[in-house]
Symmetry: C2
Subunit: 227 residues, 2 copies
């Protein structure tokens, strides 16, 4: 479960301050499927980075599964993050010199899993996103949408209880997007909590709840017909 109270994030830039988040109160329970939407620059990625413990708020509180995140040290934060959260970045963030398979193995390397099991799990995750025949390609030997799918496979491989995906289908054609959404629906049916940022309405309709941001605040928080 995710609970934020008056979450704020400001960037000081010389004489100017950019207020990316201006006080977010958000509660997401276990096994919810939430779409975070809003105009470009409204604060979606900033909020996702907060929820994923990758960035700290300037003000406000955040509890993850009951842990007061802002009171935890870096090591504890990294341990919780690696174990409970899978993150698909808007910019993929793949290691350029590693193959698709090695990139997907990474979360399990951190978790200390033996290499044979790791490689099998990584190959399985790549198969689920349709990239078995690109397993040994490096990121610059893949198309944009293929890189995106490697980033999705990496986020899923550790079977995290919370999946955070920032624009996971931005570079995918409709058929491949539908396959990825089917994968997310399957994980949701198995009990995972799914939070995805999207600007595509047909993707957002798969979610059971839509949280709309505008200029760093929640403008609307609605249940969808699917809910």
């Amino acid at each position: 479960i995710i609970v934020t109270r008056n979450l704020r994030r400001a960037y000081e830039m010389g004489s100017e301050t950019v207020h990316a988040l201006r006080g977010i109160d958000l509660t997401i329970r276990r096994n919810e499927f939430v779409a975070i939407m809003g105009p470009s620059g409204s604060g979606k990625s900033t909020l996702m980075n907060m929820i994923g413990c990758l960035d700290s708020p300037t003000e406000g509180q955040y509890w993850l599964n009951g842990h007061p995140v802002w009171e935890l040290g870096d090591n504890e934060l990294a341990r919780i993050r690696n174990k409970e959260i899978g993150f698909v970045f808007q910019t993929f963030n793949l290691l350029p010199r590693a193959t698709a398979l090695q990139n997907v193995e990474l979360p399990m390397v951190y978790a200390g899993m033996p290499s044979k099991r790791r490689r099998e799990a990584a190959a399985g995750a790549l198969d689920r996103v349709g990239l078995t025949d690109r397993m040994h390609h490096r990121p610059n030997e893949l198309s944009g949408g293929q890189r995106q799918r490697v980033a999705i496979a990496r986020a899923l491989v550790n079977l995290p209880s919370i999946l955070l995906a920032d624009e996971p289908t931005g570079n995918l054609d409709s058929k491949t997007s539908a396959e990825i959404l089917e994968l997310f629906e399957h994980l949701f049916d198995e009990g995972q909590t799914i939070i995805l940022v999207t600007h595509e309405h047909d993707i957002a309709e798969h979610a059971r709840r839509q949280v709309h941001l505008l200029d760093g605040l929640i403008e609307r928080d609605i249940a969808t017909e699917k809910a």
Copy 2:
């Protein structure tokens, strides 16, 4: 005008060969508005890189405005490219240590324009994509969609006769996407040739022609209702 004949691009990878383009015959006349579509991995970016003179074919011919591109030397190619083509990359390709303004000035630096005129033209281009208040931010101080818009402003600033845009709205919400498409429609009305890759059907409907790729070949080439 763009003419390709039997254009092929193969990547040798150890014992395996990946055929990204398997013989493309395509003619695009001046002041056409073409959408290139197709599944992830079908060869869209590879074809765009060929048309934009950023990559050479393994086989086949390509003429740009009557010039036989494969016979030109690197300097001549760079000169034609800088003068006639504006390119929006799928991965933006912004200079990380330069501000949004400096990134947009870049094509004019290559063209040898005086700095005051350059800065004014760059500020005008950023204004047209709605980023006047982010002019002095560096790419890592911008949201995903804001970086994408800086890449669009940079491609337009030199008033090229051909605009190549690879998934230009992948990270933009519908309202911001509509503003960018309006900008492209305006350039099309002024006589520019627009070729854009997209997987979003509402974006593709703005084009007058849709070229669908499948597995490195043209599967369909159709005029749209707007044509």
